[in-house]
Subunit: 191 residues, 2 copies
């Protein structure tokens, strides 16, 4: 999506350790108009899939998920993060390593919010090594619902999580795929 | 707002220690259609205030903030929570005690996202003792911006944070004010 790529070039900052900071429009400060246009692109891709629920993870996935859900006219569920592996009953959970924070989280969704008849679209702001996406997909599988695919704002193509999930059969649709970033801030996108 | 009150009666659960669980539509699972209608009510109240930014706090305030911001056609900023009081420079921060989690957090907003010329509307899903609202208002004051008021989904009137802030001159607009809750689940709203 050209508009998002332009915004990344204009407002994104490349930090050490392959961090791409997009706090000015996608996380921390949220450009609502852009997020709604991004949601529309995801809708165009998945509108024939009879999506009944959008699943994301707190906190930075929530905004993009909500503004995508408006196009699908469906509800959003966000997985909560817990640092303990002792999660209570009545939930689906899956563990997820955060490379950014270098810790392991459990992603948790109460069982009552996902049923076998749901067609679930996963939405997230970033896809890098794919840890969060794998955990969310795992939660959908546990519930018996159908995962129709994933809509991602920014995929870091050079960290290969997206390609791995595509090989495993998940329909991963990323609005911008960063192929490389250099320390002096040059960003190249996948065609 | 009658629609929200009905939803609270229908889907909310009263838990021990004055907890009102609304995970089925406002937190964890998000009723996007309802949230957008709630945002419209907040817009009707504050539309003459030339709102330039909406400020909320992660994670559960983000959805309501985004769907309110669509009416105002403005951006959203969400404060992040940090457990350490050692926050880096370049940020506005204010401490905030969580009665739910019985811990102290720092709420943090990078300075670059709030300027003296901003007219800021604070949005949050819950208002109880008012700790988060006070901290967000403090952050707006630190930035030199103008706080035009606060739009709250559910206020627990019996915990008095909202009334205290109103006495201090903040225009607090709550869509539903719970006056009392009993252990057997009876909820009464303020007229």
């Amino acid at each position: 999506m050209k508009l998002l790529e332009q915004k990344i070039i204009e407002k994104g900052k490349v930090l050490p350790n392959n961090v791409l900071k997009v706090g000015a429009f996608l996380n921390n400060q949220l450009d609502i108009n852009l997020l709604s246009k991004m949601g529309k692109e995801v809708y165009k891709k998945f509108k024939h899939k009879k999506v009944t629920k959008i699943l994301t993870v707190e906190a930075s996935g929530i905004a993009f998920a909500c503004l995508t859900a408006q196009w699908f006219k469906c509800d959003v569920i966000f997985a909560k993060k817990s640092k303990t592996s002792n999660v209570e009953g009545g939930v689906f959970s899956s563990s997820c390593f955060s490379y950014t924070h270098q810790n392991e989280n459990q992603l948790i969704v109460p069982k009552e919010y996902l049923t076998k008849t749901d067609n679930v679209l996963i939405i997230d702001d970033f896809l890098a090594h794919g840890e969060a996406l794998k955990a969310l997909n795992d939660i959908v599988n546990q519930s018996g619902a159908t995962c129709v695919g994933a809509g991602i704002a920014i995929e870091k193509g050079f960290q290969h999580g997206g390609d791995e999930m595509r090989k495993n059969g998940l329909d991963v649709f990323s609005l911008a795929i960063v192929e490389s970033m250099t320390d002096d801030g040059k960003i190249t996108f996948r065609n």
